[in-house]
Amino acid sequence: MEAIAKTPALASPKLIKNAKGAVVPSSQMAHIAYGCEHMRTMIENARKPTFGHYRGILQKIYEEPSVIAQTYNSKADGLSLISLRPLYLCLQCPNIMTETDRDEHIDSKRHIFSVESRSGNVYCGDCQDFIYDPDLEERRLQKGKKRKYEDTTTTEEHKLVLNNSTFLPCRAIGLRGLYNMGQTCFMSVILQTLIHNPFIRNFYLSEGHKTVDCERESCVSCALDEMFVEFHSVEKTEGFGAVNMLMGSWLAGEALAGYQQQDAHEYMQFMLNTLHLQNGGSTDSEDCDCIVHQTFYGRLSSTVTCDNCRNTTTALDPYMDLSLDIRNLPKKKKSEAANSDEKSIALQSCLDRFTGREKLGAAEYTCQNCDSGQNATKQLSIKQLPPVLPIHLKRFEHAKSTSTKIETKISFPLSLDLYPYTTEYRSKAPPKNVAPPNTNHNINSPANTLIYELSSVVVHKGKIDSGHYISYSREGDDWFMFDDSKVVLASEKEVLGAEAYLLFYMVQALEL
């Protein structure tokens, strides 16, 4: 549904200089004033009422029960009818109409603008087409909410930027491979997911980590900074040799050093921890506002209830990723074994199990209230979610002497509602597999949902000791596959069919 709000992210952050290197215009991109000639007349004549009314309509579409904007009065008999198809809300009067009624309304009343009821796009009767007015579009993407964030860049600062910037190649939008330097694909896949993480990218591209001022030797953050610069400002399209990153990683993390294969998940944890330390974080502080914590930090709530005295203890644990068990559910083996062995397991059921109730034996738990070992029930739930949630599927099983890989197919969605796994929901709604109720009855921003969208997938191919890592990342609406130095366009189908090892889900929308 929200696909409409996405613009194709074809252009990378760029500053502008005239093609011949001469005059620098006053704006970065040519500034379009209005959506069409007719909207120009409208806004110039009645700026406030137009914006006010449009905001009202957007609130109707995005906040009030959807049935309101989907109800119209029949021309024939005057009855109120509900439509499943889009209706049109007049921008100049309270009428809600079907498409044919709309055209008639335009002709008779000369109310030429109307707003379609599903996502709030504006239709111009004189253009006979949808128009995308910059001011209205901005309000639409805010879902009619008042904007708190203001662009405070002054003209002076703008000039400063323009005078101190050079033209960057249009092609440099961060799509480059990473050469395999010899068993380094575990590193490449994690680096690619970081490079295509908008939060991390914006941090580095806005001088978040200043290499010039950094005094660390072989700094991993500097090495990542170098990669961002290289990926976003150089015309080259061949792979990149992340030599400094390799050296920095090895010097910073002894456990991962050396010419051998490593686990991508371990490397990710190492990277996040190192980047956290090198960007102002410290080892002990829990509430850290470094870029890594802002992007990946969440908290899990762990509740243990004593079966004897019903005493409950709750602990909050920080996490940077969720590690999910993907072994076949042991209890349901008899009923579902035949199917589930062959079929795939849904990510949601792994999450269900993760946040499900777990029995603890008396040997495992000592109740402080009863002062003895007691049977207890333990439950995990998500107390706080990060903007980007990495999910680790435990494919590698380490027994005493041998390690094996679980090759079970895990199916995962492009968009995932995480609300059912939160503490808020789990604590008050025990019944399983019941979707939380949509209390505001709005389909555009339903209550009790937390929609996250798939942004990257790390895949492990082959056997545990001789495998290969590749990754997928989304840029705009396109998916790309990164296999060492190769970058290839991928289909959604291919991504969803991959043997995922790490999944990265990113929050669909952030409120400012």
């Binding site: 409409i4 996405k6 005059v23 009818l81 993407l141 860049t153 491979g177 400002s233 399209t237």
Partner: protein, 409 residues
């Protein structure tokens, strides 16, 4: 659209026994289903419409702005000091530009068939240059370098062939290079000198431009300078080298690496006594995507084979004589690469001469050093520029708000 489920309301509030007329449920089901499918198509079409129309809107604005600024150019260049030049205006059939603001005329989807890049102001190619959906563009025009993504097996999104001979030995690669040169001499303008095409394409107008995939030929493998020992080596061998260079895999290999380094930087003497057992074999085939071979295997390569194969550049524990030979051959290779990139023309003849004549060793070393510097310089040069970073101290203004990051802090 007018028959919008008239029964819906009745069904909703009907309490117990709502009896539907025969066929009613069928009609209702069909109507709901059709409406849902209609909505899916509607959303998809509208999303596409929005993307395309916004691109055309921006293109119309960009063209008008370019025109206005082109008209403005002469006076501003003549008297650069004049504070207030006349307000730039321009009008095209799609838009009116007035002092920084653009007013659209008509429907951009009709007035503006072409997409103009708002950054470089050049038209965008509308079809991939090869593979799925490719169309041969008008090569007399210059295009924005952001081409539509290529979908072609064995090629990346830019249309570069996948690297093929990552695992090939140096000898094989040099042989290929010679053949490539030979071929280049016969037919001028084949791939292999893509970099120079690009540079030349900037100023030329009217001439036929060349489409540029920006990458390197399939046989290309970059070299990198080791940050620790400053040796130059193939990127595919880097982890292996660095492992030894940093002394990670134990002291034995560290010592071997140190000996190797001093052997290279010094006068290449006394290297011969390194135990052959620490020698590593051919490059890991894993670089081609099959997963690297385990360490133990790599170690098992027999020394005899290694000597004969002249396997790769990460050797170092070869005999001094051997070493000299290698230095020479790699030198020629570098020089020839440098030459090619400087002159922009393939010159097989120059290489041949150098191969045959025995240059005095002192001169050779000198040029070797200067080359190394140059390479380091060129590697570091680009990143240091930090072109896109703005230090206006606004951490809160992300320069690249991709749709999903629009709300980022």
């Amino acid at each position: 659209m007018s028959e919008d489920i008239p029964a819906d309301g009745h069904e909703g509030d009907g309490t117990a026994a709502v009896t539907l007329a025969p066929g009613m449920l069928e009609d209702l089901t069909r109507d709901v289903l059709e409406s849902l499918i209609h909505n899916v198509i509607y959303q998809t079409a509208l999303s596409c419409h929005r993307t395309e129309k916004q691109l055309r809107m921006q293109s119309a604005a960009t063209s008008a702005e370019s025109l206005a600024l082109a008209n403005l150019e002469p006076p501003s260049q003549k008297n650069a000091q004049s504070t207030q030049p006349s307000l730039p205006t321009a009008e095209t059939n799609a838009a009116l530009y007035e002092n920084g603001r653009v007013f659209l005329k008509g429907n951009p989807l009709k007035t503006t068939p072409e997409i103009i890049c708002p950054h470089c102001k050049l038209p965008r190619l509308m079809h991939p240059i090869m593979g799925k959906g490719m169309q041969q563009p008008d090569l007399t025009r210059e295009y924005c370098m952001l081409y539509p993504w290529v979908q072609r097996s064995g090629h990346d999104v830019y249309g570069n062939p996948f690297p093929t001979d990552m695992a090939k030995s140096k000898k094989e690669r040099e042989l290929l290079k010679q053949q490539q040169k030979q071929a280049d001499k016969e037919s001028v303008g084949t791939p292999g000198s893509q970099d120079t095409d690009m540079n030349a394409g900037d100023g030329t107008q009217g001439k036929e431009i060349k489409l540029n995939t920006g990458g390197k030929p399939a046989s290309y493998i970059p070299w990198h300078t080791c940050p620790k020992c400053k040796r130059s080596l193939l990127i595919t061998r880097f982890a292996h080298h660095l492992d030894k260079c940093l002394g990670i895999s134990g002291r034995q290999s560290s010592r071997a690496a140190m000996a190797k380094i001093s052997g290279v930087n010094g006068n290449s003497s006394g290297v011969g006594n390194t135990p052959l057992g620490s020698r590593m074999g051919t490059p890991a085939p894993g670089s081609q995507g099959d997963g690297p071979i385990p360490k133990s295997k790599a170690k098992g390569i027999s020394p005899v084979k290694n000597l004969r194969d002249n396997a790769d550049d990460d050797e170092g524990d070869d005999t001094p004589e051997k070493k000299k030979k290698k230095t020479k051959s790699s030198y020629v290779k570098k020089a020839d690469r440098e030459k090619a990139s400087k002159e922009g023309t393939p010159s097989g003849s120059g290489v041949k001469i150098k191969l045959k004549t025995s240059t005095p060793s002192s001169e050779r070393r000198d040029s070797n050093i200067s080359e190394k510097r140059e390479r380091e310089g060129s590697e570091d040069g680009a990143p240091k520029a930090k072109k896109l970073k703005l230090s206006i101290g606004k951490a809160g203004s992300p320069p690249a708000p991709t749709p999903l990051a629009q709300g980022s802090p």
